[in-house]
């Protein structure tokens, strides 16, 4: 199997087959990266497509010898952050979770358990939405994409220590947002019981 770098070299020579292979190889990751940034399926789809289109049109800027994945991640991250900033201005709502995307055991778990999972998922998505771009970026890269501190350091052009503290701060912000939303949820449940 050819490496990403080899394929991309062929893409630069306008080899359509190589381009198709490259798209197929990275589309799942890019689609989910976009979704983790924006929390909206339709928007994630458009955003992921934009990533590939930007990649295609900026092939000439790629420096041979540089890891392709790092370059793609950098490009994708920039686009996702730009999009996230625009979104934050729009203040659009996070799309509601759709069951077809979730792997929920149906036979074994009681309905209450399903409901709880759904509620927790909604809390997570809303809590992520409250984060600033830098915090969301840190959470997505480290906790969702499982990037190492060194990879993030290279990608962001920051020292590892700075990256580490940014991640910690982002997690604390997310934790606070979850606690806040859980508090709202318990309050509304208590009010409902009354």
């Amino acid at each position: 199997m050819k490496s990403d770098e080899e394929l991309f070299e062929q893409c630069r020579l306008r080899d359509t087959g190589a381009w198709e292979t490259l798209v197929q190889r990275h589309q799942v990751r890019m689609l989910n990266l976009a979704y983790q940034f924006c929390g909206n399926k339709e928007e994630a789809r458009d955003l992921a497509q934009d990533i590939f289109i930007r990649l295609y049109h900026s092939m000439e800027q790629y420096q041979p010898g540089r890891p392709f994945k790092t370059w793609l991640n950098s490009l994708a991250r920039n686009l996702c952050i730009d999009n996230y900033r625009k979104r934050k201005k729009d203040r659009r709502l996070v799309d509601k979770p759709v069951d077809e995307f979730y792997d929920l055991p149906s036979a074994e778990s009681p309905t209450d358990h399903k409901l709880e999972k759904r509620q927790r998922r909604e809390i997570l998505m809303r809590a992520l939405e409250t984060l600033g771009p830098a915090s969301r970026d840190a959470i997505v890269m480290k906790d969702f994409q499982n990037m190492s501190l060194e990879e993030m350091s290279r990608l962001l052009g920051l020292p590892v220590g700075t990256v580490k503290s940014r991640i910690s701060r982002a997690r604390v912000d997310l934790g606070k947002a979850i606690l806040k939303l859980e508090g709202i949820k318990s309050w509304s449940e208590a009010a409902h019981d009354l």
């Binding site: 995307f101 997570l124 606690l179």
Partner: protein
């Protein structure tokens, strides 16, 4: 724009107060300078949170500094607890953090929720791209696949493409069908037919032993030329023809059968026995029935003599 200038206008930039051409220059600079981009991100986040944009490090009060170093400050503890998720804290620092956690319910709750984060992440939906997704990307980059009419139009504009396409088709056809098994079967059947025709010419005319033998040899040669065997399958079939010819002539010599002596029925029966299992024996014909084609006459000059019976090796040409 240079970094210093960007930092100077950063506060107004993230608030959306910059106007052209400064705004354009700032956007351009942010796109190419990773450090300024990160600074802009943090500044933007600070503005979102209602803070002022700090251009220098904030001066902390002495109490705050002391609280941090002794581990009694909640925000400091929260950050350390978050760090602890990736790599364990130093023993001394951990002890101070645990001291704080022992008396601070909100920090304990924060620690719990931080430890629950992976479980929360696992609930985040995972998307799978469909074919349309990939197709759209390809359409928007390398363009859509040409339709039938478009192909025809292209060929019309560029006639030499027709020739190239024809050559390509011919090559593909040869590659796919050129050496297929059905073709060999047809050729082998044709070989059997040749043998049958030759035998039919000779046997009813009561040819001599030598005549039959010569005809079989000639048939074998012509079959070999016809087939030009190139692989094991054909070679076996042609070898079968030669073997049968040799068997028939040897048997006739051993038996001392002379067709002119009238032992015609015995010859037919024996021929059937030898050639039948090989599938080479001609269909039975009534005695005295006229042959379909020209008559083989043993007085005519023959192409081959007894010595010219091809060997098995010759048959593998």
């Amino acid at each position: 724009m240079i970094c210093d200038r960007f930092r100077a206008v950063l506060s107004r930039y993230v608030r959306g107060e910059l106007v052209e051409p400064e705004f354009g220059a700032a956007v351009e600079h942010e796109a190419i300078c990773s450090e300024c981009r990160e600074a802009a991100l943090l500044a933007w986040e600070a503005v979102e949170g209602g803070e002022t944009v700090a251009t220098t490090a904030p001066l902390l009060p002495l109490e705050s500094l002391l609280a941090r170093t002794t581990g009694s400050d909640c925000s400091y503890v929260e950050l350390r607890v978050a760090e602890d998720l990736d790599e364990p804290l130093e023993v001394a620092l951990r002890a101070r953090i645990e001291d704080h956690l022992g008396g601070c319910a909100s920090c304990r709750r924060m620690r719990e929720i931080l430890h629950e984060l992976p479980a929360f992440y696992a609930l985040y939906p995972v998307l799978k791209p469909d074919r349309a997704f990939t197709r759209e990307i390809l359409d928007r980059t390398i363009g859509p696949r040409p339709g039938f009419l478009e192909i025809v139009r292209t060929l019309w504009r560029r006639p030499e493409a027709v020739f190239e396409a024809a050559v390509a088709c011919a090559l593909v056809t040869v590659l796919i069908f050129g050496r297929s098994q059905p073709d060999y079967t047809v050729m082998a059947d044709r070989a059997e037919q040749l043998v049958s025709e030759q035998l039919q010419k000779v046997v009813p005319e009561r040819a001599s032993v030598h005549g039959v033998r010569d005809v079989l040899a000639q048939t074998g040669t012509s079959v070999g030329d016809f087939l030009a065997p190139r692989d094991g399958h054909l070679r076996r079939r042609v070898d079968g023809v030669y073997t049968s010819a040799v068997k028939v002539s040897s048997w006739m010599e051993r038996a001392g059968i002379d067709l002119r002596n009238g032992d015609y029925q015995a010859l037919l029966s024996d021929l059937r026995g030898v050639l039948g299992p090989l599938g080479l024996y001609p269909k039975p014909r009534a005695i005295g029935e006229a042959p379909e084609t020209g008559v083989e006459d043993d007085t005519k000059p023959r192409g081959k003599t007894d010595d010219s019976v091809p060997s098995q090796d010759a048959g593998t040409r």
